[in-house]
Amino acid sequence: MMNTKPTCAELELGAAVITPGSAREYETGDWRSFYPITDEQKCIACGVCWIFCPEASRILVPRKNKGSALTPNFYDFDPKYCKGCGICAQECPTHAIKMAQEEI
């Protein structure tokens, strides 16, 4: 876990952060009050939600029912990081995403 109180000796040169991808350690998923539910029938895997998501929390998962869909996968959310901002639901061109309230 992050060392939030480093000593002088532990600081890197110029207080630089030298571990790449360290933002991954901060799991912001428990911040959310709402979460996105994606209707896989409507999702065309265009990736617009993936582009707009500010937390890089849209992930490809296999469709349960491929049916006539062009792609084997569709976009769902990553519960470890999704903060429930709703931008994906806002931007989805096929209105496949709805926000629902988290259980407390």
Binding site: K5, P6, T7, C8, A9, G14, A15
Partner: protein, 397 residues
């Protein structure tokens, strides 16, 4: 909205109180750029201008450099002018600060003191203003919401006095003052209008009477221009004292350039600047007194012009003075305030030992308990040759 027809005791965020008092001072022009933690001031001012509650030109500019440049333009044409900034914003406008004072523009600027990055910090300390000691502005400090509120009309009055005509920075600790809701006694519009008359420029840009302000100063005049400026800044102290006295007479709250608390019989003093150090320091002093220690406190209210005489008078002959700074002159003489205090006392017969401590940087708290410990330790170390030139406290090495 505060009812400005009657004086009342209210709870209010210090930023908003300052902005509300700026409103009562009726500036003609405000040019500002937002930066945490000054934002509440300029957001509030832009709202009340937009709502028609303040008849002023509010110019949202694209940077702090532009803000101060615009303020000079406003002031030079005869406007009562206000702006506010913090930290990187103050530094971005730094080259223009020199110009504003050299051109004798009586601009009032709220400086919500915040650390200079890097590493990037949005939190409070005094490194922003300490990096701008030499810009030729009057600099005053408020220690709590009431002071910031009261010093605002005083700032306009001092700056615009024809004996002064210099810009003035009203320093207020970022977050620890600006973002705190606390009680204060308000003044009415009539109160402020009776205390602060409209701005009458001595000189202004006017097509009917063309002049040039802010010209090139060649070798022949530059030295003399600086001398006149320095003399004016030093002489402004007289006007500051007068204005504080007048405010005290009218409204019952008396301010001094250098405040003293329990100094009469004190053998040890702490010296503070700004509210975080000032008010928390007060708690430490009372605790030390309860323990039978003869400790007092000096609170610097006027930083520029530097109060040489008060410092010599108050600090002379003490056993120890611990000067707290919230900034460090890196690789230099340690605490900026401490180094100037030492300068004031150099060569004085009764100059006390001075310990420069640097605390509460980048938003870290300075706890009253730690001040107590630091003063106790310094009291033991004084005279043993153990006092360092300066020391940063609370460091995790």
């Amino acid at each position: 909205m505060i009812d400005i027809s009657k004086r009342q005791r209210i709870g209010i965020e210090v930023s908003i109180a300052h902005a509300e008092m700026v409103r009562l001072c009726r500036p003609d022009g405000i040019a500002a750029y937002p930066i945490t933690p000054q934002t509440h001031i300029v957001e509030h001012l832009s709202e009340i201008v937009a709502d028609g509650e303040l008849d002023a030109e509010f110019i949202p500019v694209e940077s702090e450099h532009s803000a101060m440049s615009t303020c000079i333009g406003l002031s030079a044409t005869g406007c009562r002018t206000y702006t506010a900034t913090s930290s990187q914003g103050l530094q971005l406008m730094s080259e223009i600060l020199f110009i504003a004072s050299a051109m004798r523009c009586p601009i009032v600027m709220g400086i919500v003191n915040r650390a200079m990055s890097g590493p990037i910090s949005i939190w409070g300390d005094l490194s922003d203003i300490m990096a701008n000691r030499d810009v030729g502005w009057i600099q005053i400090f408020g220690n709590n919401g009431q002071e910031v509120y009261d010093l605002t009309p005083c700032a306009f009055k001092v700056a615009e006095d024809h004996r002064v005509l210099l810009p003035i920075g009203l320093n207020q600790d970022g977050f620890t003052l600006s973002h705190v809701v606390e009680p204060l006694e308000t003044l009415t519009q009539d109160d402020v209008s009776s205390f602060l008359p409209p701005y009458e420029p001595k000189m202004r840009l006017d097509p009917d009477n063309p002049i040039m302000m802010g010209p090139v100063g060649n070798v022949e005049i530059f030295t003399e221009a600086k001398k006149v400026h320095d003399d004016a800044l030093v002489a402004s102290r007289l006007v500051i004292d007068e204005v504080f006295a007048e405010f005290g007479e009218k409204f019952g709250r008396n301010y001094k350039a250098v405040e003293e608390y329990k100094t009469d019989d004190a053998d040890t003093l702490i010296l503070t600047i700004g509210g975080t150090l000032g008010e928390t320091g007060h708690v430490a002093v009372d605790h030390l007194r309860e323990q039978g220690k003869k400790v007092g406190q000096v609170l610097l209210r006027v930083w520029r012009p530097f109060p040489f005489e008060d410092i010599r008078r108050i600090l002379g002959g003490r056993k120890l003075v611990v000067v707290y700074d919230r900034a460090i002159s890196l690789g230099g003489p340690g605490g900026p305030v401490a180094s100037e205090i030492k300068t004031a006392l150099y060569g004085q017969k009764n100059a006390p030992p001075i310990l420069s401590l640097i605390a509460a940087l980048g938003g870290r708290d300075v706890r009253w308990k730690h001040i107590v410990e630091q003063v106790e330790q310094a009291s033991k170390d004084v005279g043993t040759g153990k006092l360092p030139d300066y020391q940063m406290v609370g460091v995790r090495e």
